[in-house]
Each structure stands twice: as structure tokens, then as C-alpha cells.
């Protein structure tokens, strides 16, 4: 844990609250307690609690952060708000999940609050996170605390010593992983791993397989999507494109830790910080995480590539793979189709519409405080927070990360990778339709886990996913889902 960054954050945050924030009037929220529900551990939750202490000191509003296992976040919030229990005032979850809650009328409209807030500076938030992450149906319903893309990281020293280039395609990824697998990468005399991906069920494994699938399935730009045929909401998952993604994903296990199937994100982060991973599929966190005191083995050595692509893409008419051409993949570069995946869409806070007005005011003031550049520009430089850059000012230059201790070259690489992903015309968007948590977090996750464990074949897994997704679509109503998908991908009315 980089203590200096935390202290810096506390000092900057306290002064910001005391001096400038519109919600910072001393005692304004005396006696008000805001209950926040989010994921367990220091990641995401820890910084909310720390900032909550600052917030309470400045405004009197008490912030209570409750942590539940990742798979329980969404259902707990949905049950609490739907059934009128209302023990939770703020949920901090995947930006894409908000649409289902909003469809049930459970989210507070934040536009009036934003209009009266002269500190939040929405124009500084990258358009994708501002329009996709924070808005539902054109209205601001969430405030980001994090911006997310999944990228591929590599050990620069290990690849250079092996005379290898960073991977451009998933086949390259496997090739590089196979060549460096078994090398001692941290000098402890033990063989280390070519690839590290968290693959535990009921965690976040299902995001990485989508990172594999996106460049194979999506070719025509962000509006095309890679989960459904937007016109019919028929899943486009039972085809050779997703089959290849599943097979490639499973293949990485040959070069991973033996217990990879039971590893959660915290487990892979621990071993990559110990210098045991040559390649890594992850969100933006490893960039600043390598600056932590317990990551001396990899400090300054973990570089990122925005996206790994594919030389073959899905022909949606036939369900078969075809070589990339300028016609079937107009955004391809040098015969490789890239589709950086905005996995999860970033962590965002939403306010319970049925909460008391005083609580809603305090909740908004706190989320705004977290979101404001003064705080978030500190938080995103601390790997352990789990917060990644989402403001233009954080991505404009590497200075922020250089000041946090990153070597100039690494900071340029890190910011460059995120910017490349964010600016890609073929960026793959995560699901943002009702049922998103079920489509991927339950159906895709379960079948993927069973395929990885050898319980079902890839064909069976994809058939089951197709059937499961159809069932969810029918539950929510096909027409409603078609409309929601159009709005999510920016192609509808």
C-alpha cells in the first residue's frame, strides 16, 4: 500500500471538502447516515470508506460501507430496493447494471443534482464513461468512481530477454506464453507462468473470455455489439467465433498457474506482483499496482497493450470464421481486427430513489466528492483502490502517474494503452440492458466454468448459453430488450 499516496489523498481531499465543494458546508448532513453497498475487500470499498471519513469530518454525514461477495452485489441491491426494504441508500456496481434498476424505476435521477453542482465538471469525464456509464435513457443516473477496460499486460524484461514482441493476436498471446512459461521471472529459483488469468467461477472470469471474443465477433464498430443481433436480440454466441474464443481462453490454462481455475482476481494480482506472470489479462489496475511496496519484483516492468486482436473474424451470415479483409473488418490494422473491451464499464454509484431526501442529498454530495477530479485524480494513481482513469484530465498526459512514481516511459505506455482503447472506433461495449448481470454473470459464467472444468464440450456450453440468454430475453420481453440494446449501443432511438 503506497502510504504516501493515501496521505496525499487525505490531505488533498480534506482541503477540497473544507474549502470548495458545494456540499461541504460544515454540519450540513449532521445526523445523516448513508449506507453504501459494494464489493468486498479494499478494492473499491476501501477508498469509499476512507473518503467517507473525510466527508463526515467536513459535512457531518456518516458513510457506512457494507461489503458483500461480488456475485451478490446486484441481487442484494435489487431485492432491497424492489421490496421496499431500503436498507441501502447507494449501490456501487457495474455501470451497465444500472439500466435494469432504472427500468424498474429504482434509480434517482441525478440531473437536477448535477445542474446545481459546480464542482463535478462533467465535461472532463471521457465521453464513453459520461454517456454510456453515467446515463440511462439520456439522464444521468449514476456517477463513475472508476473507468474500466480490459487490457493485456506483459513483462517487458522477460519478453525482451526472450527476444519476443508483445502479442498482437490471441495466437501470438499463446505463442509468447508458451515460450516464456517455466522461466524463473523473479529470481527465486522457481519456474513461473507464461499467462495469468483469474478463472474462478462466481467471480469475474467471464469478462476475460469476452475480451477474447470481442475482436473475433465485432468488426463494424461499437454500435454493432458482439453479444446479440441488435435487430432481433438473437444471441450471436453459438458460432465459430465464440467457439474459438472459448478454445483460446482454455488453451491459456496450459501456461498458467496449476490452480488457475480456482483463482480470483486477488489471487492473480498477488502472483503477478510477486513477479510470477509473464502475461496477464486485467483491467487498468496493474499499471499503478506495480508501484506498491509489495510489488518490488515487477516495479516498472509491467507494460500494457490496449487490445489483442484477431486475423479471423466471424461471418454472421454463416457463423463461420473468415480472414480479415478491409470489407468485413473496416477498422482492422495490418490485417488484424482489434476490439478493446470495456469490460464492466467501470464502477459507478447509484442512489436509491426511495431513500429519504436528506439521505439522497448526502449520497449525491458524497458520490460527487468521489467523482471530482481533486479526489479521483489521486485515487486512480493508487493501484490498490481499484479505480482506473475515466477523466480526460487524467488521460491527457502521463504526468499524474509520473508524479505517483511511474517511470516516464511506463506512464506513457499505460496512458497510451487506455487512450487507444477509449478512442477505438471498434471498442466493444459491455452489456447495458436489463438482465445484463444474469446474461453474463450467471449464464455465461456458469457454462464457461463447466467448459473449463471439462464437464461440457465447447459446443454444449455455447448451446446452453444461447438457450439461457434466450430465456432471459423472453423474461424481459424481446421488444423491450431490442429497444434497450439500441439505446445501449447508440443505434436506437
Amino acid at each position: 500500500m503506497p502510504i504516501r499516496n493515501n496521505l496525499l489523498g487525505l490531505v488533498v481531499g480534506a482541503s477540497a471538502l473544507a474549502g470548495h465543494s458545494p456540499a461541504a458546508m460544515a454540519g450540513e448532513f449532521d445526523g445523516v447516515t448513508v449506507n453504501i453497498l459494494t464489493r468486498p475487500g479494499y478494492v473499491i470499498a476501501g477508498r469509499l470508506a476512507e473518503r467517507g471519513v473525510e466527508f463526515e469530518a467536513a459535512t457531518g454525514g456518516k458513510i457506512v460501507v457494507t461489503e458483500v461477495p461480488f456475485a451478490e452485489i446486484f441481487p442484494k441491491i435489487q431485492q432491497d430496493w424492489s421490496t421496499g426494504t431500503n436498507s441501502i441508500d447507494v449501490g456501487v456496481f457495474a455501470a451497465g447494471w444500472g439500466v435494469e434498476l432504472d427500468a424498474s424505476g429504482l434509480l434517482e435521477d441525478l440531473d437536477p443534482y448535477v445542474a446545481a453542482d459546480d464542482k463535478i465538471d462533467l465535461d472532463d469525464i471521457a465521453p464513453y464513461f459520461r454517456e454510456f456509464g453515467q446515463k440511462v435513457g439520456g439522464k444521468t443516473k449514476l456517477l463513475m468512481v472508476d473507468g474500466d477496460f480490459q487490457m493485456v499486460y506483459y513483462r517487458k524484461d522477460v519478453l525482451e530477454n526472450a527476444g519476443l514482441e508483445p502479442p498482437k493476436t490471441w495466437e501470438d498471446y499463446l505463442d509468447v506464453a508458451s515460450q516464456i512459461h517455466g522461466q524463473d521471472m523473479n529470481g527465486d529459483g522457481e519456474a513461473d507462468f507464461g499467462s495469468c488469468i483469474f478463472k474462478k467461477r462466481n467471480a469475474q472470469s467471464y469478462f476475460a473470455v469476452q475480451t477474447f471474443a470481442a475482436p473475433i465477433v465485432q468488426t463494424q464498430g461499437t454500435g454493432q455489439g458482439f453479444h446479440f443481433d441488435s435487430a432481433t436480440m438473437k444471441p450471436i454466441v453459438n458460432n465459430d467465433g465464440w467457439k474459438k474464443a472459448f478454445e483460446l481462453y482454455k488453451e491459456t490454462g496450459k501456461y498458467g498457474p496449476p490452480e488457475e481455475l480456482n483463482m480470483d482476481i486477488g489471487d492473480t494480482r498477488a502472483i503477478f506482483k510477486a513477479g510470477r506472470c509473464g502475461l496477464l489479462v486485467e483491467w487498468g489496475d496493474p499499471g499503478p499496482l506495480q508501484l506498491d511496496d509489495d510489488a518490488t519484483a515487477v516495479k516498472g516492468l509491467i507494460y500494457a497493450v490496449a487490445a489483442v486482436g484477431s486475423r479471423e473474424v466471424l461471418d454472421r451470415e454463416t457463423g463461420k470464421l473468415v480472414p480479415v479483409t478491409s470489407e468485413n473488418a473496416p477498422h482492422a490494422v495490418d490485417g488484424i481486427n482489434y476490439a478493446p473491451f470495456a469490460a464492466f464499464g467501470g464502477w459507478a454509484g447509484a442512489i436509491n430513489k426511495k431513500a429519504d431526501q436528506k439521505k439522497k442529498d448526502a449520497a449525491y454530495a458524497f458520490l460527487s466528492y468521489m467523482n471530482q477530479a481533486e479526489q479521483s485524480s489521486v485515487d486512480v494513481t493508487i493501484g490498490a483502490t481499484g479505480y482506473n482513469p475515466y477523466r480526460l484530465s487524467q488521460l491527457a498526459s502521463p504526468d499524474l502517474f509520473v508524479e505517483a512514481g511511474m517511470p516516464q516511459e511506463l506512464a506513457e505506455n499505460y496512458i497510451g494503452a487506455i487512450n487507444a482503447a477509449l478512442n477505438s472506433l471498434n471498442m466493444a461495449s459491455d452489456m447495458k440492458i436489463p438482465g445484463a448481470a444474469n446474461y453474463t454473470g450467471v449464464v455465461l459464467d456458469t457454462e464457461l466454468a463447466r467448459y473449463l472444468a471439462g464437464e461440457v464440450t465447447v459446443e454444449e456450453a455455447l448451446e446452453n448459453i444461447e438457450a439461457g440468454w434466450e430465456e432471459i430475453t423472453e423474461d424481459f420481453g424481446r421488444d423491450e430488450q431490442i429497444e434497450a440494446q439500441g439505446l445501449a449501443l447508440g443505434t436506437g432511438n
Binding site: E259, N262, N438, T446, R450, L452, V456, N464, D475
Partner: protein, 371 residues
């Protein structure tokens, strides 16, 4: 004694119904907190349920939530893979079917029509389970949550019973320090299942756990129990046994200590060996307790959920997922209808198997003990 007729009749009425009054609060509580939710959950099991801004929204779907466990996209998850069927699987299935039908045919002479009905239900369940067994496990296919649950129940209870009874037998002998061991053996039962799960997870860690040096010595340093279905189930059973052996132990110890000493001493005077004494005197007297304890333990074992949830999250794949954990995961995804359907299937399985065990094993042993 003089008194008004009204008062006498009131007092008599109270006396006559006192039993009802005493039992009414308990019955009311059971109706409210057990019976009513059980029937209400049937509504959930036959619906697709959505959480909306106005509360829960039900859509009646009949038995679709049940059917998909047997014929739909959850079939492999619930039953396991049932194709292709091997010759061994078919043979075992055929042998079991013939045996069950012969047993049922013979039963018609020794039981009433109610008993016959019960035996028919038991026979149908046995044939169904035999088909799943033959088509999945015995055909080399993966098993589903139904047989993972039965594995925990049958193999787990068996191991726990043998070890628990053995420890009880040792502690019933006149050895020094036996009171100390009684307390030690009993402690795991008092630990919360969550605590057992996390403790076992640490103990079973092959890279940093206490057995890591031992695994290295025997050449298993690269063995990872959590990625192989059967080793993961085995480790799960070790954890479950660690917690539940004390239950068997304490019950069987009580039974052993109630065996009259004069019977044992008479046998010793007659020159009987220890094995003969246990087989001919001790075992017949403790068997009613033994089968009852097994029944209670089996009912509890059907509900195993904490250990696989904590240690593997049901993985690898769904190989350590019990039916209860399956129901929990589906419920956690807010698919309340399917979750309730799985819970009902577990209830049906538990009731039929435990009632069969009670009728055909426990009652028989109790009758024999009385004779």
C-alpha cells in the same frame, strides 16, 4: 362443592380443551414459519419472478422450472451428462431395476395398500437414481448436482459413521485421559461451518498450507486438488467429516455407555473374544441408536452448502456443487422460481430417501432390538 352451573361448565370446557390450548401456540408458529412458507414457495417454483419497482412480479409457467432440470438446458448441470451410456452402466441399471421390481412384487403379500403405495414411490426413485447413476458415473460421464449431493450424503455419512463409532468405541474403553479426548473430539462440531470452510481452505492450500512439505516429499508438489472434480469432492468430504464426526461420536458414545456392563462381563467370563462381544452383544444393543443417528446425519448432509461455497465456489465447473448450493446460486441471481424448484426437488429426494431408510432400515432394526 357448590358452584354455578355456568362456572362448572366453563371449567370443564377449559379442562376438556387444555391440550389444544397448550399446543396451539407451537402449532401456530409452525404454521406461520414452516408450513405456510413451504406452500407459498410452490407458487414461486411455478413462476418466473421479476423484481420491479412495485415489488415482485409473477408470471405463471407451470412446471417449466422443474422440467428444465430434467430436459432443458440445465439437464447436464442437474443430472450430469447422460450420454453415451456404457455397457456397464446399462448392466447395473438393469440389475437394479430387476431387483427393485422383484422386491416390489414380493412386498404385495406383506404390506397394506398404503405400504404398497409407499414402496412403489421408493422403487420409482430407486429406478430413477439407478438410471442416472448408470448413464452418468458408470458410463464415465460427469455427474450433476444430484449425484454430487448423494456422494456427500452416502459416502460422507458412511465415513463419518465408521470413524465416529470407532472413536466412540475407543473412548468407551477404560483408558486414561479419555475425558480429555472426548472434549477434543467434540470441539469441531461447535465451530461454525463458515469457520470450518475457511480453516479447511487454508489447511488444504497446496502452496502455503501445512501439508505442502509433505506433498513435496511424496512428489505431489504440482498436484492441485481444486482443479480436479473428484479430488475437490474428496477434500470437501474431509472438511465435512472433520466437522460432523463429533456428532456421530457423541451419540454413539452415549449408546455404548448404556450397554449393560453385566452382559459384557458375562460374555468375558464365558471366554468370548472382543470381536465376538462387539458383534453379538454391543452392536445389537446400539444399532437402533446407530441407524437413527445416521438418519439425522443424512438429513443434515443433504443440505451441505457452506463448505463447497467457500472452498471452491462449487467448482471446478459445477463439480462440487450440491443441490442446495445450486439453489443458492440461482437464487442469488434473483431467479427465485428456478431456485424454489430446485429446493423442491431436493425436498422430494430427501423425503423419499430418508423415509425409505426409516421404513425399511430403522424400523426393522428397532423391531429386532425389541425382540
Amino acid at each position: 362443592m357448590a358452584g354455578s352451573p355456568l362456572r362448572e361448565s366453563w371449567g370443564e370446557w377449559i379442562d376438556r380443551h387444555s391440550g389444544t390450548f397448550f399446543i396451539a401456540p407451537a402449532v401456530t408458529l409452525i404454521l406461520i414459519f414452516a408450513i405456510f412458507p413451504t406452500f407459498y414457495s410452490l407458487v414461486f417454483a411455478m413462476s418466473r419472478v421479476r423484481f420491479t419497482g412495485d415489488g415482485l412480479k409473477f408470471r405463471f409457467v407451470g412446471f417449466r422450472n422443474f422440467a428444465k432440470q430434467f430436459f432443458g438446458n440445465d439437464q447436464v448441470h442437474f443430472l450430469g451428462r447422460t450420454e453415451p451410456v456404457s455397457i456397464l452402466g446399462m448392466l447395473v441399471f438393469a440389475v437394479i431395476v430387476v431387483s427393485v421390481l422383484v422386491w416390489l412384487y414380493r412386498s404385495r403379500k406383506i404390506t397394506t395398500w398404503v405400504g404398497m403405495l409407499g414402496r412403489t414411490v421408493s422403487a420409482a426413485m430407486a429406478i430413477f437414481l439407478a438410471w442416472v447413476l448408470g448413464a452418468s458415473l458408470l458410463s464415465g460421464n460427469s455427474i450433476g448436482t444430484i449425484y454430487t449431493t448423494l456422494f456427500y450424503v452416502i459416502v460422507g455419512c458412511g465415513i463419518q459413521f465408521v470413524i465416529g463409532t470407532g472413536l466412540a468405541f475407543l473412548c468407551s474403553q477404560p483408558i486414561s485421559g479419555k475425558n480429555f479426548f472426548r472434549v477434543i473430539f467434540f470441539i469441531p462440531l461447535m465451530v461454525t461451518p463458515l469457520g470450518v470452510g475457511y480453516a479447511m481452505k487454508m489447511v488444504a492450500d497446496v502452496t502455503k498450507g501445512p501439508f505442502e512439505p509433505l506433498l513435496s516429499v511424496i512428489g505431489l508438489e504440482n498436484w492441485v486438488w481444486s482443479v480436479d472434480p473428484w479430488s475437490a469432492r474428496f477434500v470437501m468430504m474431509v472438511g465435512d467429516s472433520w466437522q460432523w464426526i463429533p456428532f456421530i461420536f457423541i451419540c454413539m458414545l452415549a449408546a455404548l455407555e448404556n450397554v449393560p456392563r453385566d452382559h459384557v462381563e458375562a460374555a468375558q467370563v464365558d471366554g468370548a473374544s472382543s470381536i465376538q462381544i462387539f458383534r453379538e452383544i454391543t452392536w445389537p444393543q446400539i444399532v437402533p441408536v446407530a441407524v437413527t443417528v445416521l438418519l439425522i446425519r443424512a438429513v443434515e448432509a443433504f443440505k451441505i452448502v457452506d463448505l463447497p461455497n467457500i472452498m471452491t465456489g462449487g467448482g471446478p465447473g459445477s463439480s462440487t456443487e450440491s443441490m442446495t448450493l445450486h439453489s443458492l446460486y440461482v437464487w442469488r441471481a434473483n431467479d427465485i422460481g428456478t431456485s424454489a424448484a430446485i429446493a423442491y426437488l431436493l425436498l422430494i429426494l430427501t423425503v423419499i430417501l430418508c423415509a425409505s431408510f426409516f421404513n425399511y432400515v430403522v424400523i426393522g432394526q428397532l423391531r429386532r432390538a425389541k425382540e
